[in-house]
Each structure stands twice: as C-alpha cells, then as structure tokens.
Symmetry: C2
Amino acid sequence: MAEPTSETYRIYATLPAQIAVRIGQAIVDGEFAPGEKLREVDLASRFGVSRASVREALRSVEREGLVTILPQRGAQVTALSAPEVQDVFDIRASLMGLVCHRFTTSATPQMRQQLDRLLKELRAARDDGEAYSRASLAISEFCVRNVGSRRLADLVLSFARQTARYNRLSFASAERRRQSLANWRGLVAAVTGGDAPEAERLARQLVLDTRDTALKMLADEKG
Amino acid sequence: MAEPTSETYRIYATLPAQIAVRIGQAIVDGEFAPGEKLREVDLASRFGVSRASVREALRSVEREGLVTILPQRGAQVTALSAPEVQDVFDIRASLMGLVCHRFTTSATPQMRQQLDRLLKELRAARDDGEAYSRASLAISEFCVRNVGSRRLADLVLSFARQTARYNRLSFASAERRRQSLANWRGLVAAVTGGDAPEAERLARQLVLDTRDTALKMLADEKG
DNA sequence: GTTTGACAAAATGTCGACATTTTATATGCT
DNA sequence: AGCATATAAAATGTCGACATTTTGTCAAAC
C-alpha cells in the first residue's frame, strides 16, 4: 500500500530499494563479514522476496561500494586491501573538503548554531569510542546534508559507509579522539569565521588523520 | 561464447553490461536527448534482449548519472538544471584536483613524456572545437587512468561524461580554447616540476573555467 | 598421496508471463 | 467549450522457470 508524501509525485520505496537498504545496513553494522559471499537464494529466502528483487538490490548496494559483484561468480562483501582503504579515505577527504568549503560560505545562522550543538555533543562523547564514532558521524552528516547537493551528499556518505569499520577502529583510541576533537573545534571556528579555505584544509586533515590512525592500527594488528 | 582473457579469472561482459555501455554511449553522443524517456520495451526490442536485461542495464547507467529512474515512472535521460550543471562541474573539479596532485607525485618519466605528447596534440587541435574537445578528454583521461585508482578514475570519468555536452559547448569558443591551452601548459609544467599543490590548483581551475564558460553560453542561449 | 577427470550439485544469467500502477482516451455532465 | 470521471492502453514491478556456468565430490590413474 503506497503512502502519499509531501512530494509533488507520490514516492514509494520499491521492493529492491528496501532490500538494498537492509543489506547495506547489515554490512555497515558488521553482520556480514568482509569477503563473505552473499548468495541470491539465501538473501531471497531471508527477506521473503524473489531472486530478481534481491538481484537488483545487490546491484544497488554494489553502487555504494559495499559489495563487489563478479560476473558468474556472484556478490561478496567488499574487502578492501590496505591501499584501497587509503584510497577511499583519500577521495573522501577531498570531497569532505569541498563540503566544508561550501558549508562555510552558505551556512545560515541556524545551521551554525546547530553545528555548535553537535560539537558540544561530540565533546560529551569523547570518553567513549562507540559514542564518539556516532557523534562524529552525526556532525559530519549534518554538514554534508546541508550544502544543497544531494549528489555530493550521497557520494560522501557512501565513501564514509565504505570505511565505517575503520572509523570505529580509529576512534577506539583515546588519543585519536582528542586529536579529532581538536580538529573539529578548529573546523567549527573556521566555519564560524567564514574562512572557507581553512575549513576545507581542516576537513581534509580530519579525514586523513582518521585514515592514518586506522591504517597504523591495522598494521600493528598484523605485525 | 566466452573469451578467455589474461586475467586470473575469466571475465566476460555480461549482457546487461554490454547494453549499459551502448545506452551510455548513445546518451553521451547525443543520440538520446536530455529528458527523453527511455522505455524498457523499446530498448529491449532495439537491442534484441529481454526486458530484464535492459532493466538491469538502465540501473547501471543510472549509477553513472546519465539516466534518472523514478519508481513506477521509468527512466529518462538525465536533464541537468543550471545549478546541477554547476554542481557536477564543482565536484569534478575537486576530484580532478586530487587526480593531478597524485599524478604529480607518482608519474614515471615515461608518463611525463606521454603527457608532453598529448599536450602537443592538444595544441595542434586548438583551431577545431570538436578536435580540441576530444584532445582535451584524451589528456585528462590519461592523467586520470594513471594515478593507480580505478575507483577515482571511474568517478571522475563518470562526472566528465555527465557534462559531455557542456564540454563541447564550451570548447566551441576559440577564446575558451586559448585559455584552456594556457591552463594545460601551466598544469603540465607543474607536473614536470613536481609541484603537486600547484598542479592541483590548476586542475581545479581548468574544470571551473570550462564550467563558467559553459554556463555563460547557456545563459546567453536563453536570454 | 597427489593429481586428473568426470559427474553431480549449486549458483548465477536470461527470459517470458502476470500483477499493479501510470498514462492516454473517451464519455458524460455543468 | 471545458472539466471530471470512467475506461482502455501501456509501462513498470515482481515473480518463477529454464539455461549456462561455476563449484564441490568422488573415483581412477600415475
């Protein structure tokens, strides 16, 4: 049963779209391990839909980079190598720079106020890795979703989701949280002060610091 | 009949993948006009495959941003509004900056040599809009494909393809071609000199100049 | 014991059909 | 004439079935 919305046209989520969201969330939440094979039949029975719908959903999740599909060999949860993790963070850093540059020049007073609130919440969460990770995502997402580009927002959030586990890993370190918080303080100050280039620089730095910590922890894990 | 390749695993293009390429190329080439509806049945009979394959192909082309699909309302060639064109160029500029930064720090002597050759070809094409447009794409693509990131390459080229018609429009202006050529000379010099930040800055500028020219011409067209 | 090959099982690729929604057409009323 | 409604046509959404390819198993050969 389709629900009318406030949009000009009635939009209802198609079945494959719903399944895609659920699969994507399961991956981000770690329910499916990296490299794990996702068989169409299994998912179809799990979600109670036909294979065709699952198939289309998987292509959708592939677009987000969360699964990798090989012809005749099916889908598996994307397992990033160390260079690939670096790559994803790199691109994300560049895009996040663009986001914060734009946000600085276009934010309304209400938005700046909200940004301050989110910074306070980030500070409040500085002693808990999981909470800090969530608060960090919240403040990032706020900026991302308020620069007036759905395209850019989807892109940045997609890259963020691809490295969700590495964010959590990085923020498990108390020292890293202190560094991140200091960085965010500077970023908010730059935004408030209207210094777009500085905001861009700091936004990049923020993501790259997360990257470096995560990669170092990953290397230690193996070594 | 599947052809073996030099890859570890045999890769053969699945049917929807082939159709997706053909549809995408047709859009970039202007065979389908912006806003034109693409009906699954029509495409299926045109390419001699089933609707299911066309359907999957369309989702693939949607990922590239070339078509827009609305639930229950089908696919149509993406028609960008002026702000959206600006948006796409903006994101592309940022990513192209990253590409050229990376290229500067990682290019081999052979690559720099090839870059010089492509710059010469660009210069040779400066009196012909269409030829210049092609040469410009060629030199861009060369950088993009040689920074060691398939992810980044696909992303940048996708954004470039979305604005293909505006590139051509922009390079129809002789003055614009002179400006572009000067910019490319500076960029190649920065790459050769190993000045990555300057290469990044110029790469961005290059894309943004194309954007501004295209938008101005678009505005004049209407006014 | 390892490897090769054939065979069986399972997974993906592709298709055609039916269900539901949207869009176009025609009919009737003010 | 113009608009609202009902009906018909067309397009997309979803499904199950069959074809092809990959994967797993087991026996025979070296």
